[in-house]
């Protein structure tokens, strides 16, 4: 499987994402510079975390106008899987590939810590290998991770099973204390109606190796690989 890991000026988690793709998953992958305009030959796109354009104006606001985003739009329209992590999620929302927006943490402080996340809906390329009921321990690191959308959008996300991940306690309960940033409906990650574009604020690429503290995040990447291999097998 061939992964594209996008690079914007000051994406900082690009190297981490590519490291997981190549060294942990053993898949092929390369960086795609934001000024490129084609994603031909790639099977999945990861928009990594960081502070693209310094988060100036609004986080993700400038990155979404990079030439490569047009290719991402086409790739997604063709059904290709796109995963936005942290800043990547913010960019996808600014680009309107996902609904809603990410605003400043309720605490007004940057927060870096492990949190518990439950997988709320499945049936996507990103969730197939996550066992039912599994509470994943993954790190967050953001100052603007509070998910916001109007009531109508939130209800629609819920009704259509587009809320993929929610912050929870170690037992899987949705509580205010377990919500690190004030996200509405405790939303940690969502997908689009077609279920091929997903974004999440936690960093699964930082939780893919036991030595770093948790390898629960690897399940998301393994889901993608398995989904892809099944598709290839079906086509054959």
């Amino acid at each position: 499987m061939n992964f594209a890991v996008l690079q914007f000026p000051a994406s900082n988690c690009d190297q981490d994402a590519l490291h997981v793709v190549r060294n942990v998953l053993g898949q092929a992958g390369r960086f795609v510079w934001h000024k490129e305009s084609s994603l031909a030959g790639f099977d999945a796109v990861i928009i990594p975390g960081g502070f693209s354009y310094g988060d100036y104006l609004r986080t993700g606001a400038i990155a979404r106008f990079s030439p490569i985003m047009e290719a991402v739009r086409r790739f997604a329209a063709d059904g290709g899987p796109v995963l936005g992590i942290c800043n990547g999620f913010q960019i996808l929302c600014e680009a309107r590939l996902l609904p809603g927006a990410l605003i400043r943490n309720r605490s007004l402080q940057f927060r870096c810590e492990h949190v518990f996340v439950k997988t709320t809906s499945g049936d996507t390329p990103f969730t197939g290998k996550i066992p039912a009921g599994k509470i994943m321990r993954v790190p967050i690191a953001h100052g603007e991770g509070c998910y916001f959308a109007d009531d109508e959008t939130l209800q629609s996300l819920q009704d259509k099973g587009q809320i993929l991940w929610q912050y929870c306690t170690a037992q899987g309960e949705l509580t205010e204390e377990a919500n690190p940033n004030g996200s509405l409906r405790h939303i940690a990650g969502i997908c689009n109606p077609e279920r091929n574009v997903a974004g999440l604020m936690p960093h699964p690429e930082r939780a893919s190796e036991a030595i770093l503290g948790s390898d629960d995040g690897r399940l998301i990447f393994e889901s993608l690989v398995t989904w892809f291999e099944a598709r290839v097998a079906k086509a054959a």
Binding site: F65, I103, N105, R106, C146, F148, A149
Partner: protein
């Protein structure tokens, strides 16, 4: 000529910055004040004198990039 743009959070969006500033003002003795909203102010220097042409362009820029209509409102003045 200058474009003067004020970007503010939509009323529906929680504004923790605004709330914090409101609390700080009250602690300092400014009693009875109402809600505080913290926004952004942008100034764009523009050449020439054709206000209308620039207004259309900057207005479009406001909607496309300078503000996020999901969470923000904006006011534009050209002078």
């Amino acid at each position: 000529m200058k474009a003067k743009i004020i970007v503010t959070p939509k009323k529906a969006v929680v504004d923790p910055q605004g709330k914090t500033v409101q609390n700080a003002l009250e602690h300092m003795g400014y009693k009875g004040i109402g809600a505080v909203h913290v926004g952004k102010y942008l100034e764009i220097e523009l050449p020439g004198t054709d206000q209308e042409a620039w207004r259309r362009q900057i207005d479009e820029a406001c909607q496309k990039i300078l503000s996020n209509p999901v969470i923000e409102d904006y006011r534009l003045e050209i002078e």
